[in-house]
């Protein structure tokens, strides 16, 4: 839940009241992966959801999931999802498709933007 914050494995170990080395060993034994890999996976999954469901920039999403280097974010993302973040996003329908725009907004902007139909022009002439 707190992975958007600058959490490191050391913070997790402290929260568990264990030394970092012991925490990492115990975590790997219990969950089959290192705490570092676990944290990165959670962050990348969250980044993938934000790429699909928002129009935030890749840089903003990188920061929003608690990562600081866009370069390593792109590299890790590609390793996990097979494509870099921008290409991953492009493979899905644009996020705007899912915006549940109220009917009153749609009706207003759906009308022709030239609203005089030239009658006023003729009357003025």
């Amino acid at each position: 839940m707190r992975y958007a914050e600058p959490l490191e494995v050391g913070d997790l170990a402290r929260a568990a009241g264990l030394s970092q080395a012991h925490f990492s060993r115990a975590f790997r034994k219990a969950f089959g992966e290192s705490p570092h890999a676990y944290l990165l996976t959670r962050r990348l999954e969250r980044a993938a959801a934000l790429l699909r469901n928002t129009d935030d920039s890749v840089a903003d999403i990188c920061v929003a999931v608690g990562l600081t280097s866009i370069g390593s974010f792109t590299t890790s993302f590609k390793r996990m999802f097979g494509t870099p973040p921008a290409a991953y996003r492009a493979a899905f329908p644009p996020a705007a498709t899912f915006a549940q725009v109220p009917a009153c907004v749609l009706r207003f902007y759906g009308r022709p933007q030239l609203r005089t139909f030239r009658e006023d022009d003729r009357a003025a002439r």
């Binding site: 469901n53 928002t54 996020a95 705007a96 549940q100 009153c104 907004v105 207003f108």
Partner: protein, 142 residues
């Protein structure tokens, strides 16, 4: 049959609301999309980290002609009075959740109190919307 997907709250400022709901309440953005062709309509939803299938839409009060100025003013007044909408949150430990949110900078208007149905406290978002945070008694098994 159907399920509740999203419910709407009016907000004064979507950026301000986004900061409050994510940074102070610890919620997550579920969608945030702006549609330029529709007057920059912004669909912004948030929900708690452990509830991905329900969300609150943080909706900007639209201008004319979608909402006339008098109605917009009425809505703003109701929000200021706290009558525009209320969200009821539930928690296993009201005191702990209260302290956690307070440490993140949420200002409570009601401290945790014993009620017939459980322990209850309340706060408001920057737009004036009411939130109750309740540890509901297990009336069946107690």
């Amino acid at each position: 049959m159907y399920r509740i997907a999203t419910a709407q709250l009016w907000v004064h400022d979507q950026d301000e609301a986004l900061k409050f709901y994510t940074e102070k309440l610890g919620m997550q953005v579920r969608s945030d999309v702006t549609v330029p062709e529709l007057g920059n309509f912004r669909w912004l939803t948030v929900s708690p980290a452990n509830q991905e299938d329900i969300a609150i839409v943080l909706m900007a009060i639209p201008g004319q002609p979608i909402m006339d100025e008098q109605t917009a003013q009425d809505v703003r007044e109701l929000m200021a009075k706290g009558f525009a909408g209320t969200v009821f949150l539930t928690t296993d430990d009201c005191q702990a959740a209260y302290e956690d949110l307070r440490s993140r900078g949420v200002e409570f208007v009601e401290e945790p109190e014993e009620r017939p149905y459980g322990i209850d406290c309340g706060f408001r978002d920057p737009s004036g919307n009411n939130f109750r945070l309740t540890q509901v008694n297990d009336l069946v098994n107690s």
